[in-house]
């Protein structure tokens, strides 16, 4: 990425267009949301991992639901159907094996997204 290139110009997992538009392009506001995301999402992933380890469907449902709001703000649209399905399976309290597979995708894509966000973060000072 070029030095002055901002996040919305790159083809990646995250689409910062929504966040940027919502914040009126204000870098400070965007940075605050990015910081909250970097702080919160690893905790949310850990909570889902812990819930799966305990086969706690109620917790799986609740944290999948919580994470859906976070990832939508950062434009990580590929995670929306994955989290939606995890939430649905959690609600039905069924198919932990499928939830585990979905969770692998969730962790992999989320970690890629976090790396991307860390890379673009310096552009929002």
């Amino acid at each position: 990425m070029k030095k002055n290139e901002t996040a919305e110009h790159i083809e990646n997992i995250c689409d910062f267009k929504y966040l940027s538009e919502t914040m009126g392009g204000k870098k400070k506001a965007i940075r605050e949301v990015i910081d909250a995301f970097i702080e919160q999402v690893p905790q949310q992933l850990k909570s889902i991992n812990d819930a799966i380890a305990k086969t706690d469907y109620s917790m799986i449902k609740r944290f999948a639901h919580l994470m859906r709001s976070s990832i939508s703000i950062m434009g990580i649209y590929t995670l929306v159907p994955i989290l939606q399905e995890m939430e649905n399976l959690g609600t039905k309290a069924t198919d932990i094996e499928k939830i585990k597979k979905l969770n692998e995708q969730l962790n992999s894509i989320s970690n890629q997204a976090l790396e991307e966000i860390e890379r673009v973060k310096p552009n929002y000072i």
Partner: protein
Amino acid sequence: MDAKNNNISVFLVDDNEVFLKALASSLLEYFDSEILIESFVTGEECLKKIQQNPETATDVVILDYHLNTVSEKAMNGIDVLKKIKEINSKIIVVMLSAEDKLKVASDSLSYGANEYVVKSETAFIRIQNILKNSLEQEYDSRILRITMMILEKYPELYQYIEEMQETIPGEKSPHLTLKNLKTYYNSLESMLDKYALEHPQNVKQ
């Protein structure tokens, strides 16, 4: 917030701190210095703050329906809504939900929420507009009520309304802002409070 603070106070309640931060930043971007924002991750914290100062703590609460993700025992949005309305029915409440479900919407509205917004792509824009319109309507009607009361019960004060410097912008200055409305309303209220204090014998029920 002080009793006669002219800024609009908005409480945000959501257990998702990313959403909370994004919503706060988007509202500050839209309303600039016209509003004061305070964020809470539980309904209990928000209620505690309102209970400390029921009449003046806040003008608006933007409240998520699901508040028990992080703490299973936390109050849900509907229970928080009911409590807010019990404490002060004048507080404007906008209910948020991740799902577009009829039951959530109808429960929210039947328990006194002024609006119901689904957390979709357009949520922030909708919240901004709802906030602006709701607050303008609310202050318009409060100004109308207090002005009518002055006319009916205290016509001797009417002359002071006209003499006040803080007036609502008219045709010459159409840029009517929430802060203008709140300032004007507070000035009328202050005038009545002062009159009641100085002339207790004239106060009518």
